[in-house]
Symmetry: none
Subunit: 209 residues, 4 copies
C-alpha cells in the first residue's frame, strides 16, 4: 500500500534479511491469532510476542509501539486483498460486463470470507486506529483497477465512469461488510451475493448501455 502513513505509525525498520522477514511474519500471524483467540481487549504486546516466539524487546525493534503494529497488520492485509482484486480485474480485460461484475463480486467476497474470522478480527483491530490513509489508498487502488477493467469492456461505454465506478465499489464493499457483520448462514449469503451481482449488472446496463 503506498499510503503515506501518519508519521508515528510507520514501522521501525524494513525487513532486509530473510531472518527479519520471518520474524515479522511471525509477529503478524501471532497478532492475528491472539486477536482471534483472546479478543481485542486481551491483545497485549506481551502476549503477541510470546506467541510469536520473540521477546517484547525484539518486537519493539520492529514496531515503535502497539499502534504501529496494528497499522502495519492492516496495511499488509489490505495489500493482499488489493492485489487479488487487481489481478482478477486485469484478467478480465476485454471480457463482457457480466463476467466482470461476477468476477469482481466473487473475488472480493472470497478475499474477505475465506478467513472470515481473520477479517473480522482485523476490522476490530482497526478501531481507534488512524487508518484513514490506509482505507483511502486501498480505495484508490481499487478504483483504478476496476475503472481500467470497465473501460476495456467491449459491450459498454459509461458517460460518467468515475461516478458509476465509485458507486459500484461502494455497493459491493458495503454489502459484503454488512453481510459479514450479520453472520448469516452461508446459503443465504450466497443468495444475496448472487442478487448483488444481478443488481450491479442491471445498474451498469442502465448506466452504460
Amino acid at each position: 500500500m503506498d499510503a503515506t502513513p501518519p508519521q508515528h505509525l510507520s514501522a521501525r525498520k524494513k525487513p532486509r534479511q530473510a531472518r527479519s522477514a520471518a520474524t515479522l511474519e511471525a509477529i503478524f500471524e501471532a497478532t492475528i491469532q491472539v486477536l482471534l483467540r483472546e479478543g481485542i481487549h486481551r491483545l497485549t504486546t506481551t502476549r503477541v510476542a510470546e506467541r510469536a516466539g520473540v521477546s517484547v524487546g525484539t518486537m519493539y525493534q520492529y514496531f515503535p509501539h502497539k499502534q504501529a503494529l496494528l497499522y502495519a497488520l492492516n496495511e499488509r492485509y489490505l495489500d493482499l486483498v488489493a492485489e487479488r482484486v487487481e489481478a482478477a480485474c486485469q484478467a478480465q480485460y476485454g471480457a463482457s460486463t457480466k463476467t466482470m461484475v461476477e468476477v469482481l463480486v466473487t473475488t472480493y467476497w472470497q478475499a474477505k470470507t475465506e478467513r472470515s474470522e481473520v477479517t473480522r478480527a482485523l476490522y476490530r483491530s482497526a478501531v481507534e486506529l488512524d487508518n484513514e490513509a490506509l482505507i483511502d489508498a486501498f480505495a484508490r487502488r481499487m478504483d483504478a483497477a476496476t475503472i481500467a477493467m470497465l473501460k476495456s469492456a467491449p459491450d459498454a461505454v459509461y458517460a460518467n465512469i468515475d461516478l458509476v465506478n465509485v458507486t459500484l465499489l461502494s455497493v459491493i464493499f458495503g454489502t459484503v461488510r454488512n453481510d459479514f457483520e450479520r453472520d448469516l448462514p452461508a446459503s443465504e449469503q450466497a443468495e444475496i451475493r448472487h442478487q448483488l451481482t444481478l443488481m450491479c449488472l442491471s445498474y451498469l446496463e442502465m448506466s452504460g448501455g
Copy 2:
C-alpha cells in the same frame, strides 16, 4: 429493541422517576461526548461519570459494568433509527416503488448522517461488544417494515420478496456504512446516494412486476 440481551449486559435498573431518567440521559450523552472528543480508548468510566456530572458510583447503580453501558447506548440508538425508518415506511404504504426506494434510502441515510460523528462513535463503541442480538433484532424490525411497505406497492409484485428485500436492505445499509467510513465530501456522497437509489430501483423493476 426487543432483543433479549445477553444476561450480563442488561442495565441494572429502569429509570422510574424523572430524576433517574434525566441521569440516565446525561450518562448516555456523556458517553457519546467522551467517545467523540477523546476516542474509544479514552472512554473510561470515570471520564463518563465526570462529564455526566454524576459520581462513578451512581453510574454503577445504573449499569453493572462498562459493557452494559455501551450495550444500552447502542440499543437506544438502534431503537431511534428503527423507529424513524418504520415511520417512514408506513407513511409510504401504497406509494410507487420509486417513491418507496427514494424514501427508504434517504431516511436511512439521514438517520445515520445527521449526527454522523455520533454514528461513527457508536460503531466504534460496538467493537468487542457482544451485540449480535441487537443487530439481529434491528435487522428483523427493518425487514418487517420494508417488506410490509413493498407489499403495499400498487406497481409491483415480487416472486421472492424475502430475498429481494434482504438484498435491498443489505445493499442500502452496507453502502451507507461504507461511505461513512470513507468520509467522502458531502457532494460526492449525495451523488452516490442518488446512484444507489437508481440501482435499487432498477433492481426492483427487474425482480418485481
Copy 3:
C-alpha cells in the same frame, strides 16, 4: 457480656421496644447468613441490610458503623456460650470431678459445634476487630464459673486452684478451636474429645486430690 467495649464500638441504641429487638435480631441473623453464604469479603452493609429486610439507613441507626455491628454480634454470641457454660457449671455443684470435667468439655464442645459453620463465620468476623475486651470478659466469666464449680467438688481440693483452672480452660478451649479449624471427621472429633476429657481428669487428679 459486661465488657466495657472500646467506646467507638458500642451500639448506637439499646432496643427498647419489641420492634427494635426484632429488627436487631434480624440484622444479627442476616449478618451471620451473609457471612456463611458469601464469605467475609462479601459481607457488606448493603447486603446485610437487604437480607435483614431493612434499609442501610436503618441499620446505621442501630450501629454507628460496620465494626460496631460485628462487635455486637460477637458479644452476643459469647454471651450465649457463656450462659450455657455457666448454667452447666452451676448444675454440677457438688458432683464428682469426673462428672464436672465431662460436662464442661461436652458443654463447651457442643456450644461451639452445634452451629459449627456459624462459629467459624464468627471467628472470621472477629479478625481485625478490637475484641480483646470481649475475650477477656468471656474468659473471666468462664474462670469464675468453673472455679466455683471445682471448689464445690467433694472429692478434691486444689493447692493452686487459679492456675489449675486457667490451665484447664486454656486446654479445653484451645483444643476445641484447634479441632475446629482442622475440620476432622465427626468420629475422630468425638474420640479426641473423649481423650481430652481423660487428659483433663488425670491432670486434675494429679493436681488436686
Copy 4:
C-alpha cells in the same frame, strides 16, 4: 510444605536468581510489616510493594494476585515452624517421654512466640484464605514427626498411638494458640506452659504405661 495448593493460589514463578530470591524475601517481609503496623484491612498491594521497595507490577510478576501472596506467606511460615519441630523431635529419639514432651511443648511454644506479633499477623492473614490444604499438610508433617519420636521412647508403648498422638498435638497446638489470643502476661504464660507439660505427661503415662 508439600501441600498441593489450590491451583489459583500458587505463586507465579520460582526465584531462580539471587536477585529474585532477595526480592521475594523483601515482599514477604514487607507483607508482615504492613500486617503488623497497619492491620489486615490496610494490607494493600500498593502498600506492600512500596514497603518492599518494588513496584506493584513487579509484585504481580511473582504473585498472580493478593491471595497468592498471602498463601505463600503462610506456607513459608508453616514450613519454618514444621522444620523446627521436626528437628527437635529427631533430636529426642530415644529420650525419656518426659524429655520428649517438654521439648515438644517448648519448641512449638517458642516457634510461635518468638515473633509473636508476626504469628498473630499471620493468623489474621489466613482468614478467608483457602488454606485448608496448608494446615492439613502441616498437621501431617507434625503427626509423622511426633509419632516417630514417641515410638522411639524406651519407657513407653502406646496401644493406640495414632489417637494418643493426635490428641497430644491437638491439645498442645490448641492451647498455645488460645494463650496467644488472650495475650496473657509472659509469667502466666510460662506457668500455663509448665502445667500443660505436666498434663500431657500424665496423659501419656496413663495411655502408655
